[in-house]
Symmetry: C2
């Protein structure tokens, strides 16, 4: 099986790169070793397994989570190589949750391609997700750190809790900002937090330092999800495209909607009740939703929240020594917010 | 939340009990502690999670897998309590796979009750399965044995592989006895093997002893699945009931069918091709399938295979000291086969 998951960013002049690409460039030697591990550990004598897993891995994405593990370990001056296995494990957990999410959400598209459940059906998506999840734990065992295993297994449990919480909240127009925050903290930020924390654990950091790494990951994860939720309404440019409107159609009350509902008049509230709670949507409703979200400044408010979390992430790094890795991690937090534009 | 999962068998005179119940009776003090752990670790602030998990745990079953962990640890004279956490982890992994299997197989019934995917839908079944899986790993981390974690995470990966292999084989009338054996060894026997092996690991057994425990679990698991596959065709009494015919309807070629196909004449082969490969089944086809299976002695042959594996399981215990636990584990292997009658 041939798989091109090399870091292409490394070939462009670094001035043209965004912060995620610059970080990938900086970490490219480590990432190549992680990619080799990923390829090796997704192997199975059952052909459908690597085929399906590879379909997702090939689709790419920025690999932000394993990059955080690699970069924090380097920032800390860690000299072992356990972070490579942990980074691969983080990516496997993420990939497994994507596979299961698409089944749960009955999604048709993932990163602009048909989702695996559409190509192969729900059953293989569920089972290959389980396989990757199990293989993630085998990688963690190989990293030989029970505290790192604790961190990542707890994150996996919290992610599932967050997903169930989100499922239970779908269609509820009264979801508070606090519930929304609890959902995204669990379903997204917990894995970012663990991705950073495990580097501190294997680097024998102090509990305070480990807590700071957890905070960096958690805050960048919150910023990331807030911006993702904005982008589902077109971001600040508010351009409707193929990749917008999924949350709306699934009746997910993300922050832009929660804020628009909180600021709604009676007529607007009736609209939200019909489209979200009663799930009765017509072709023009998404445009109307976007109009109301913009009218109430809900995208700007969501972006403000994301900016705050990104700034918190940078603050959390203050205690660590200045080096190119810390700079790259700081820039990454800023980049996560820039995506909104 | 109140949950009655106490071992009721303890109240009956032991002469009326079958071997699984006698083992449960013998291990009841340990099992109560495992039950408390299970109840505690399935807890979550998200109400749907314990509700759904509890629905499966309440439905019961014999808890054979965690009983094997508890009994092997006692047989070995283990004096710690890590086996309690590992037994709970084994049951969580089993429960998670049941939840996912029902989604994969689109099952309506589980242990005579509506399956969780029918009551709550596929999405919560997938996610609560993930939650239990993650919690299983947290329990293993608490048991503080990396080799035990390796054993159980490898088993979880092998189970998923076996399930995918089974999925790929569905509808294939040419499935060989060897492929069938590979499927049940992965999807069923691997967890039984790990359930026994982890006791040896925490008891500091020699590699040979650990291999013997693995063999005990693997062989009893194979016998268990062979008998389960017979029971889907009514067992030796061949009584058709509510709990028969699932494998047939799903086009799964289990050993009774594989043997009947191997011994089929041209007309019979055409029948199997229509009902299994083409999946065109009428109301009378299951009775016809059963007739062919009986005609070729396929149930007896399946039972013979199960008997051989049960005897292998007993042999694997030979090297260990005689005590009541070893006797109970030996009787359990015999009981697994007796269920066929």
């Amino acid at each position: 099986m041939k798989l091109d998951i090399s870091v292409k960013a490394g070939k462009a002049p670094s001035s043209d790169l965004n912060a995620a690409e610059r970080l990938a460039d900086l970490a490219s030697a480590d990432m190549r070793r992680v990619d080799a591990l990923i390829l090796d550990r997704m192997g199975s004598p059952v052909p459908l397994i690597p085929k399906l897993a590879n379909y997702l891995v090939e689709a790419g994405g920025k690999r932000i989570r394993p990059l955080i593990t690699l970069a924090t370990a380097r920032m800390l001056g860690y000299e072992g190589d356990a972070q490579l296995k942990l980074a691969a494990a983080v990516e496997f957990i993420h990939t497994a949750t994507l596979l299961h999410d698409d089944v749960v959400d009955e999604s048709d598209l993932r990163r602009g391609r048909k989702s695996a459940n559409v190509v192969w059906g729900n059953a293989p998506s569920v089972l290959v997700g389980d396989f990757l999840f199990a293989r993630a734990f085998m990688l963690m065992v190989d990293a030989e750190s029970l505290p790192a295993l604790h961190s990542l297994s707890r994150a996996a449990s919290v992610i599932a809790e967050g997903e169930v919480r989100q499922l239970a909240a779908a269609g509820d127009v009264n979801v508070s900002e606090e519930s929304y925050r609890a959902i995204i903290e669990a379903k997204t930020a917990a894995l970012f937090a663990a991705a950073a924390e495990v580097s501190g654990i294997v680097s024998d950091c102090t509990p305070d330092e480990i807590a700071a790494l957890d905070r960096y990951g958690r805050e960048i994860g919150l910023a990331f999800q807030l911006v993702d939720d904005m982008l589902d309404y077109g971001g600040l440019s508010a351009t409707l495209g193929k990749k917008t409107g999924d949350d709306f159609r699934e009746g997910k009350v993300t922050l832009p909607v929660a804020l628009a509902i909180a600021r709604a008049d009676d007529g607007e509230r009736a609209f939200w009740t019909r489209v979200i709670a009663d799930n009765e949507q017509t072709d023009t409703d998404f445009a109307r939703a976007l109009e109301l979200i913009r009218k109430h400044g809900a995208l700007e408010a969501t972006l403000d929240a994301a900016r705050t979390h990104a700034a918190n992430a940078c603050d959390a790094l203050a205690r660590f020594p200045d080096n190119v890795w810390k700079t790259a991690l700081t820039n990454l937090a800023e980049f996560v917010v820039e995506r909104a534009h």
